[in-house]
């Protein structure tokens, strides 16, 4: 049973002093899947990443990776996982190749195995020409590739990445995803990453929305969108409160106010555009019909906008 699970987490909680960073989190990740934790900054993603990557000790709850218990079999887990940190973990005074060799030594690789692996990674990640350049001379995108190379040096079966696409331009971001997909498809590597971008979470096999230390939703992107219940209508108006109560009164539709806009979801949302404009002449500045996005899912599950979540109560 446990053997086909890459990660199994149950009632995991973590706090820094008084501040609760994770609260009773539980989930499972299957082998060979790409799983994204998405959520606003401060939602608990990085704490979860630190616990899974063995950087900080487990405080309460149970975590197992490939059947190994995180609290007792840390060494086995460390050999199994590849970790790519959000903050750079490169030695800037060393060259690209030297960084790879150093990382290899930490995982017990040397000699011809190291040479082949080094050449292979440099080629896969397009770093061959920069192999002898010092890391401090690399661009942000190339540094991130080198971080990936470091994380992959020992052929980990489980790759953990914290905010891997931060500071990457869109092209580099697609390259990254291309690489992750191929890792999954050709080597059956399980990939778990965190992101604060909803559109990135859309690329995952499954995703979990992490908000204020708890999982607000967990499923495939499509299944999550389906829970929203149809397309959404967003109305911009000068008097959102009055319009919302007008919509509720006239059409018996549960409209809510978010960010000074009135919005609701409805299976036949498209038919409502003209009806609304006719029903409230002069009150509507703009009206938008949208397919449900993960943003809608986030709003539905947490009751506020994605970008508002940050900086609200701890």
């Amino acid at each position: 049973m446990a053997s086909d699970l890459a990660i199994c987490v149950d009632s995991l909680s973590h706090h820094y002093g008084q501040r609760q960073a994770l609260c009773d989190v539980g989930f499972e990740v299957k082998r060979g899947e790409i799983f994204v934790f998405v959520g606003p900054n401060g939602g608990g993603k990085t704490t979860l990443f630190r616990v899974l990557s063995t950087l900080i000790p487990l405080q309460s709850g149970t975590v197992s990776l490939h059947g190994y218990d995180l609290s007792r079999q840390q060494h086995l887990i460390r050999a199994l996982i590849g970790v790519v940190f959000q903050a750079p973990s490169l030695d800037r005074k060393l060259t690209v190749a030297e960084n790879i060799r150093l990382q290899a030594a930490l995982y017990g690789l040397s000699g011809t195995i190291l040479q082949t692996r080094e050449a292979e990674l440099l080629e896969q990640l397009g770093l061959v020409e920069r192999a002898d350049d010092r890391v401090e001379t690399l661009s942000g995108g190339l540094k991130r590739r080198l971080e990936l190379a470091k994380g992959m040096i020992h052929h980990p079966q489980l790759l953990l990445l914290d905010e891997p696409s931060t500071a990457l331009d869109p092209g580099a971001r697609s390259d990254l995803w291309e690489y992750l997909y191929r890792l999954r498809d050709t080597q059956n590597v399980t990939i778990v990453l965190t992101s604060h971008l909803l559109e990135e979470a859309d690329r995952a096999d499954r995703l979990a929305i992490l908000n204020e230390g708890s999982i607000a939703a967990l499923d495939t992107p499509d299944a999550l969108r389906a829970t929203v219940g149809g397309d959404s209508i967003t109305i911009q108006t000068d008097k959102p409160a009055e319009l919302a109560s007008g919509v509720r009164g006239k059409f018996k539709i549960e409209a809510s106010i978010l960010n000074e806009t009135v919005r609701f979801e409805h299976p036949d949302a498209h038919t409502w555009v003209t009806r609304l404009v006719e029903a409230f002449p002069g009150e509507i500045n703009a009206i938008t019909l949208g397919k449900p996005t993960l943003e809608d899912v986030f709003i539905a599950k947490t009751g506020h906008h994605f970008w508002q979540a940050e900086g609200t109560k701890p």
Binding site: S89, D91, R92, A105, L106, L176, R182
Partner: protein, 281 residues
């Protein structure tokens, strides 16, 4: 970027922890980094060299201990100062490692704590030792220096043990710090007094002469390193004033310095098990 290139595909080998390989590479990293940061080389050798030239020349005639002028007396202290400075710079690099994020990838790798400590301490030690050796060869131009090869072998060995002790001690002090500013305070409050009170700069008064200073210098582990080097370089030239100055035996110097190193290494290993908020970038 493509994970599978047809040209070569390494077969997947299970990860085996090889602590000595890891320690060697971490040590190698220290050395490479040191020589790529030229200001560190200058700082670690330049300052003591200037100290020695200025104080040695300035105080040479007003200081006389046995047959020694200050230039000779001060020389072993300068050697230890070089070891101290270099070791301290090596230890500060832990703070940088942490701040630059490098330490994170070491902490989540399967290598053991002692492998990490060994790599760091040995790296700092070798850097300190090379500089100490280069400087100490200047002693061959001083009057009264022993030139037997065996003696110099002993000098270098003692320097090695002193460097291990100092690097490991710096490691313990630096581990929990999240900024190098904090380390400068430690350096001025702990390390410089420790060096000044080691007999590097002035001899240890006998118990009857100044009881407090005598004991402070006597319990300072660095005293035994400085005195040991002085013994091995000049013989027992400054043992000639009993009742005025106190000097430990050479064997005691070796034993205390070795204990100092062992205790410092132990604490470095111990402290590495603890996590600090600085790990969390």
């Amino acid at each position: 970027m493509s994970p599978e290139s047809p040209a070569h595909q390494t077969k997947i080998v299970p990860v085996v922890s090889r602590p000595l390989l890891a320690a060697t590479m971490l040590c190698w990293r220290e050395i490479i980094r040191f020589f790529r940061q030229r200001n560190r080389v200058i700082g670690a050798v330049g300052t003591p060299l200037i100290f020695w030239l200025l104080f040695g020349t300035g105080l040479d005639r007003s200081f006389q201990l046995g047959d020694q002028g200050f230039r000779e007396y001060f020389f072993p202290g300068t050697v230890v100062m070089i070891l101290l400075f270099t070791s301290i710079f090596a230890s500060i690099s832990i703070i940088e490692d942490r701040r630059e994020g490098f330490l994170q990838s070491v902490l989540v790798s399967p290598i053991s704590r002692w492998s990490m400590v060994l790599g760091k301490v040995l790296g700092g030690t070798l850097i300190a030792l090379v500089q100490g050796i280069v400087f100490s060869l200047l002693a061959l131009f001083l009057p009264g220096v022993k030139t037997e090869l065996a003696n110099w072998f002993s000098i270098f060995s003692l320097m090695f043990v002193i460097s291990v002790a100092l690097t490991a001690m710096g490691y313990v002090l630096a581990w929990r710090m999240d900024s190098s500013q904090g380390f400068h305070a430690i350096m001025n409050l702990v390390l410089m007094p420790m060096w000044l009170l080691s007999g590097a700069f002035f001899p240890i008064p006998a118990l009857g002469e100044n009881g407090i200073l005598h004991w402070v210098m006597r319990v300072n582990p660095l005293t035994y390193g400085v005195t040991g080097i002085r013994y091995l370089m000049f013989g027992d030239v400054n043992m000639k004033t009993p009742g005025v100055f106190w000097v430990p035996e050479l064997a005691t110097c070796w034993i205390v310095t070795a204990l100092f190193a062992a205790v410092a290494i132990f604490f470095a290993w111990k402290v590495s098990g603890s996590r600090t908020t600085g790990d969390l970038l």
